[in-house]
């Protein structure tokens, strides 16, 4: 991959840029004195959906989870499906900022900030569901260890749900910190560029008095590198643990050892799909073509293709193991229930969305065509939602005792809650876009500096201190 970085025809940033113009361009929208109407419209739409969330939540607390379609045997419905879906989407950000950082992938620079923000908001949406789906939400704190009138009250640490609580909260915390650390220098820039007194004060407080000192930069880059090192196993662990919610149980269709890798891959898959879904329009609207180039799209598409194939492998292994185990319940689950059962349509739809269609990505032309890429990305988002639906609902609705077989029909409230979280997601996203830099400015500056540096010198690939094999992380963070 290091080669692709130095493919001369595909620079990461339009060479015409210098430090000044980059800063100018990337802070333009945030510091603009007047807000465009389009933004207000977008926020209004998102806010409407957000209110739908509030309404359905109020209804939920007032009446109980019975307003959803869940029942016995299908005691988990949309809530868990959406939880897994959102948390999966929430994997791209950290992956891009952490793993790609460790791999010294400079192209991450243009998208990591946006992806991280997306991660946070996705995790926020995801985090709501485990709480909302509780029968007695007002007792949620029973799941955490804390001192009370029982003495010390503890959760039951053998339960994957408790692992979830720890994993998701840790993930959320680390993501927020990572994101904030990345923001500090850029907020400092906003502070110094802003003409608005209030903005200056607020940005000033947020920047903590950052003054770009070399000594600070030194610790700063070390810290970022350490965070990346921590976040990488974390991001893998989170979806592994989410997959344990199912894998640890004894249900055919859930009790599967391939789940952890296949869930993680699926998470990255959906994460990148969502990044593309969002980045392509943003790029068009704000004219960020200079920073988010065809090469970025290309690379992301490649990652989707790769992870998509891992997911496909996961599907195949499920079937193979079911057959190989010769376990009658497993065989029935996969070859009867999923293939021919009442929800078979969902299964085949997910195969189409997650496996068949993404094969188009083998073509470089498709990978660079924003329009097609965007459509494929959306299809994958849908597909990944279907995957979770199939895993949760079809496995539950027909388990061991035929006498207790049942069906699950989502109610209007199921849908309202789901759409509501989408509203929340975009509402936060739009606020972020207006108030904070969507692209990490100082890292772009760095990139610009290196490119000009490279131009002045003969062949950057040979220079000992070219960005891709320098020992210190200083360059890339």
């Amino acid at each position: 991959m290091t080669q692709s970085i130095h493919t001369p025809d595909l620079p990461l940033v339009n060479p015409s840029h210098d430090l000044e113009s980059v800063t100018e361009k990337l802070t333009g929208f945030q510091l603009a004195p007047t807000t465009p109407k389009g933004w207000f419209l977008a926020v209004a739409a998102a806010f409407a959906l957000l209110n739908l969330l509030l309404l359905s939540t109020a209804m939920l607390i007032y009446k109980g989870v019975g307003i959803w379609g869940i029942n016995v045997p299908v005691a988990w419905g949309f809530a868990i499906v959406n939880f897994v879906w959102w948390i999966g989407i929430g994997h791209a950000g950290t992956l891009i900022s952490a793993i790609l950082l460790l791999f010294r992938q400079q192209w991450r620079t243009s998208i990591n900030r946006f992806a991280e923000a997306m991660t946070l908001f996705a995790v926020a949406c995801a985090g709501m569901f485990p709480l909302l789906h509780l029968g007695r939400i007002w007792k949620f704190y029973y799941i955490m260890p804390y001192p009370n009138t029982l003495g010390l009250q503890f959760p039951q640490f053998r339960s994957p749900l408790v692992w979830d609580v720890f994993a998701v909260t840790t993930y959320a915390t680390i993501s927020v910190l990572f994101w904030y650390v990345g923001l500090i220098p850029d907020v400092a820039t906003l502070r110094d560029r802003s003409r608005n007194r209030v903005a200056r004060v607020l940005y000033g407080i947020m920047a903590l008095g950052w003054r770009n000192s070399a000594r600070h930069w030194h610790r700063y880059t070390t810290a970022t590198l350490l965070l990346a090192g921590l976040a990488t196993p974390l991001v893998v662990s989170v979806h592994t643990i989410v997959s344990f919610d199912f894998a640890v149980s004894i249900l055919p269709g859930w009790h599967t050892t391939v789940f952890p890798p296949y869930f993680v891959a699926g998470a990255v898959y959906s994460g990148f799909a969502m990044v593309l879904t969002l980045v392509i329009p943003v790029r068009a609207i704000f004219g960020y073509h200079d920073f988010i180039t065809a090469r970025h799209l290309n690379n992301m598409a490649k990652i989707m293709l790769a992870t998509g194939l891992i997911v496909a492998y996961g599907y195949v292994m499920e079937l193979f193991m079911a057959w190989y185990s010769a376990h009658s319940y497993e065989m029935d689950m996969f070859f009867q229930v999923r293939w021919k059962g009442p929800y078979a349509a969902y299964y085949w739809a997910l195969i189409l969305c997650n496996i068949a269609i993404p094969q188009l990505l083998w073509s470089a032309w498709v990978r660079r065509n924003p329009y097609i890429l965007w459509v494929i990305a959306i299809i994958i988002n849908v597909g990944m939602w279907l995957e979770r639906f199939v895993i949760v609902i079809t496995s539950l609705h027909r388990d061991f005792l035929t006498s207790s077989w049942g069906m699950y029909y989502p109610t209007v409230w199921d849908w309202a809650t789901y759409l509501g979280t989408i509203g929340l997601f975009f509402f936060l996203l739009f606020l972020f876009m207006r108030l904070l830099p969507m692209i990490s400015i100082f890292e772009i500056r760095e990139l610009v500096a290196h490119q000009s540096h490279a131009r002045t010198h003969a062949d950057p690939a040979k220079t000992p201190d070219s960005p891709d094999n320098t020992p210190s992380g200083g360059h890339t963070s």
Partner: protein, 269 residues
């Protein structure tokens, strides 16, 4: 462009930065403390009653046995509050026109029941059983405190689960000979010196297996070990009313099985 902040801001910034976490801690601590405060637990807070009944007077003053009024304490989960007639047994003779007793007399006349306010009130999902505790030598005073010193009844302990567990995890600590359960001032020293006074009503020790049980307690299913021979008295404590026997001896003598008493279903059903 001019600077945004003046030098003073740094102190403020630092204080806030370090202060916030501390503040949060404090709030949590306060809430926890609040839960243990007597305002919430009601410990030591005398409760108003329709009749200002004084345990101090009746127990310490007149030396009436607890079981004279709370008759069901040994047979039932519920230690009953005495019926009006019980009060009237005496008060039809003495204090017959005391003003404060009017509600009792009225109740007796009209048949309208007296509404006492509950002092020891467990949540509805907690099932406590008096009989077994008394039978195993857990004294009244252990949970209800020195009622003989309470002009008006008040809780002596929070009755929180934490508090229950302390004893259920180490039952031997709070045991005493079963004929002393109603003794307010008892302790092992007095027992040793024999200054604990004459044994009380030997309720548990003399209570024999009820008639129904006598009729051929079947061998089928009854454990070979520990079957009570029909009609046999309960195994008395090694305690003879003279030498001090430590709680552990009682623990063995009363065959207290720690197994199960910390199970959830021991109290929650």
């Amino acid at each position: 462009m001019a600077r945004i902040f003046s030098p003073g801001i740094n102190t403020i910034a630092r204080t806030t930065a370090f202060g916030l976490p501390v503040l949060v801690m404090l709030v949590f601590g306060a809430v926890r403390g609040w839960q243990d405060s007597s305002y919430i637990t009601g410990v030591g807070r005398a409760v108003n009653q329709p009749v200002p009944f004084s345990h101090q007077h009746h127990v310490a003053g007149l030396g009436i046995d607890c079981r004279f009024c709370h008759t069901s304490v040994e047979d039932s989960s519920f230690a009953n509050v005495p019926a009006t007639e019980t009060c009237m047994q005496c008060h039809s003779q003495i204090w017959t026109n005391a003003e404060m007793l009017e509600p009792v007399r009225e109740s007796f006349r009209t048949g309208k029941r007296i509404e006492w306010t509950r002092v020891h009130d467990l949540p509805d999902f907690v099932y406590f059983d008096h009989s077994v505790h008394v039978a195993k030598g857990v004294a009244c005073v252990t949970c209800h405190g020195q009622v003989d010193q309470m002009p008006m009844m008040a809780k002596a302990s929070s009755l929180y689960m934490q508090w229950c567990l302390e004893c259920h995890r180490h039952p031997e600590v709070n045991l005493r000979p079963t004929d002393r359960v109603n003794d307010m001032a008892w302790n092992w020293q007095k027992e040793a010196q024999g200054s604990a006074g004459p044994p009380g009503i030997q309720s548990i020790n003399t209570k024999v297996v009820p008639q129904l049980r006598v009729q051929g307690a079947p061998q089928a299913g009854a454990f070979q070990s520990g079957v009570v021979q029909p009609g046999a008295a309960y195994p008395n404590a090694a305690y003879q009313g003279t030498a001090a026997v430590d709680s552990q001896a009682l623990f063995d003598a009363y065959r207290i099985r720690t197994q199960g008493i910390t199970n959830c279903s021991a109290c929650h059903r």
